[in-house]
């Protein structure tokens, strides 16, 4: 193993791996700012993953697959939002229900359509097109990390920038943040906090659908429970990232690196595979503890 070739591919795959985290977390940021703990990210992502790959295979169009996968996720988000906001069910319970529903639905449908509860491969599915951005290539040494990714990876970065603009630069973002901070203020000026809550949930449906599409289309297959806790880690990333897009980007980078590292380390390091596979989750726990310690001291500091 040479010193230069090891980190570059690992970092390259970090970029690829972090995209679903990033997309789900950015959507979750909107619901978080609107004052809701959205634990349905995982389920919405799963629905996006299933429908995008299945419908891409069925229609023969990756683009249509992605669009329809996102649409499916938005529909699920709407139902989740309607029950939580309009029918005033506890959002934690409805979020949990969404996750369980998504898990069941995808397996049942997979079995119904393909007669298979396991991994479903789509051999005829074309690969996600790579995007070449020559200006990135010219960056010395680390330029290699950023090139040669598929188009959805770059879209996920665009989403971060877009989210930052929407949240901080538009009236819509101002109102979303107002809804979370003091719904009474939104109500008093004649706007509906519930409506802005719904908008935020639909946005999270959109980005989670896309996140799911990235997962399954990259693999060209659907695996039951393909999201394997990424929605939960995305939720952690929102808090670690201090509820702002840049912070979330950095948090997702850390999680992406952890997973990428565990992929590489399996073949190289003389450590039990179970431990290495658990590495991303250990990082999550460590990061969460570090975060709460920092928060604790910050609070203490502001009091004193």
């Amino acid at each position: 193993m040479s010193n230069t070739s090891f980190p570059i591919p690992m970092l390259h795959s970090t970029i690829r791996i972090m995209a679903p985290f990033l997309l789900a977390a950015i959507g979750g940021l909107f619901t978080e700012l609107a004052g809701m703990l959205n634990i349905a990210l995982e389920g919405l992502m799963l629905i996006g993953a299933f429908f995008s790959v299945v419908l891409a295979a069925a229609t023969g169009s990756l683009f249509l697959g992605v669009v329809l996968g996102i649409l499916a996720s938005i529909v699920a988000a709407y139902v989740f939002g309607f029950i939580s906001l309009n029918l005033r069910a506890n959002i934690f319970i409805t979020g949990l229900a969404t996750n369980l529903f998504a898990e069941g639905l995808t397996v049942v449908l997979a079995f119904q359509i393909f007669g298979n509860k396991g991994v479903i491969r789509f051999a005829n599915l074309s690969k996600l097109p790579d995007l070449s951005i020559p200006s990135l290539q010219r960056i010395p040494v680390i330029g290699d990390i950023f090139i040669g990714h598929n188009v959805l990876i770059y879209i996920s970065w665009l989403m971060v920038i877009l989210a930052a603009i929407v949240i901080y630069k538009t009236p819509f973002g101002l109102r979303i943040r107002g809804t979370g901070s003091n719904p009474g203020a939104i109500e008093a000026i004649g706007l509906s906090p519930r409506r802005y809550g719904m908008y935020a949930i639909l946005i999270s449906g959109f980005t989670c659908g896309l996140a799911g599409a990235v997962l399954s289309l990259q693999m060209g297959a659907f695996v039951p429970g393909i999201t394997s806790g990424r929605g939960w880690i995305a939720l952690v990333a929102i808090y670690l990232g201090n509820k702002n897009p840049l912070g979330i980007f950095i948090a997702c980078l850390v999680f992406g690196f952890a997973e990428s590292f565990s992929n590489y380390a399996q073949g190289i390091m003389d450590v039990p595979a179970d431990f290495i596979l658990a590495f991303p989750y250990i990082i999550t726990v460590v990061a969460m503890i570090a975060y709460s310690i920092v928060q604790h001291y910050r609070l203490k500091g502001s009091e004193g």
Partner: protein, 519 residues
Amino acid sequence: MAYLQMHGITKLYQTSGVLANNAVDLSIEENEVHAVIGENGAGKSTLMKLLYGLEHPDAGETFFRGERVEIKDPFAANRLGIGMVHQHFKLVPDFTVAENVVLGTEPRKRGIFIDRQSAIGHVAKVIEDHGFSIDPKRKVKELTVGQMQQVEIIKMLYKNAELLILDEPTSVLTEQEIERLFETLRNLLSRGKTIILITHKLEEVMDMSDRVTVMRGGKVVAVKRTVDVDKRELSRLMVGKDILLQVDRPAKEPGETILEMQGVTICCRGQQRPLLDGVDLKVRAGEIVGIAGVGGNGLAEIEDVIGGLRHPGSGKMFLNGEDVTRYGAEQLREAGLAYVPADRLNRGASLQSSVRENCIVTKHHDFLKAGVLLQRGIREFTRQLIDHFSISAGEGMRAGNLSGGNIQKMILARELSAESNFILFSEPTWGLDIASSQFVYEQMMDLRKRDAAVLLISSNLDEILGLADTILVMYRGRVVGRLANTEDVTKDIIGEYMLGIRDDSQGVAVASPSGVRGE
């Protein structure tokens, strides 16, 4: 026709069944300060919410500048030029002043982006035009309460409001801030604005208003020109002249002191005025002491201190001769406290638990054997209480499924079963029907007969006058009146103490009504 005319406004809250406004007429002239006064629950705030489009009336019409209007939401009110400052500010603490002001009507550039520069510019202009001194770029959470209120006023002015509604604007302000607010209001008046001032403070009415509408029990009881009335008459109109409740209260010589407070004071950070200011009180055996006052003047704090939920900053409290000042709720109960709290649904009972569990919660140790609760004994005990206090409930029922009257009976049963010689009742009949109230009164008189010391905290004057031997009146955290409850004591007199028109606290400690000085 008047500038604003509301006619026959009726509002029934379906869920609670409260008729908050009953055929209310309100008439406001252009460029006047019109005070709307009344006690808590008189319907003032509801009327203003209807006018501002936050609630919708079940009946009635509103005319503004001669035209019939339907105000379906605050946007519609703003479009008509009606603005409102809520009693509890509606601000986003993390936003800047400018962001709070423009929220909902943000100036835009290129159609989709907030134009920050122009927002700050516009807000700065409103601030400058009206002589405020707030930096529009500061975050609201960094402002003082007085400044937050200014932001609310700026919000209205930014939206070009001509008719300004202020709901209890002075309730959270210090004296200096109140002065500053009144200055602002006079300034706005000179610019042709019209102001509706909701309040229950009479000095403000006398100082600021041109006319006054008095509400009581959801109805308008009087409309007067301020120059034609005095505080005394207004207080009489606010309190009303209902028939006193009839309870047989035989003369009785009180025994030794059971509960005593000495100079109990509570200061709250960030507030100039203490919540309780040197409160002295004594409750003797076989005596009922009643404490009256308008909400926010220290009644809740006295309840908290005696209940052991809040410790005084200074002063002492004794129960049966024992210094209980620093005791918590459990220790106080061991020292002989029984307590029927005002907030019976949260503090007085656990609605998720069964009647049985609620009945034994203060004495479950008595039913313990080897760390296990003896169900048979508990059932027996609960059934006895249910029989004795005629509670319509099964012992296994969830307390939350009981009616309000029965929940209160259950709490009474539990507290009286402790057979303490001191019992605190706070708002014991609030929201209860006549029969249940009567039951509570009988229990209190029975306690008095059995030589228990009873402290009754109540905003219901009929109750205080009907039951108490000694009456204390609280105003701004101080005991401003101490009266022996004789024939001469009337609702009017207590009402005047409650509203700060009379104040004995600077002079005589115990005064009979005949010795009471006026303003």
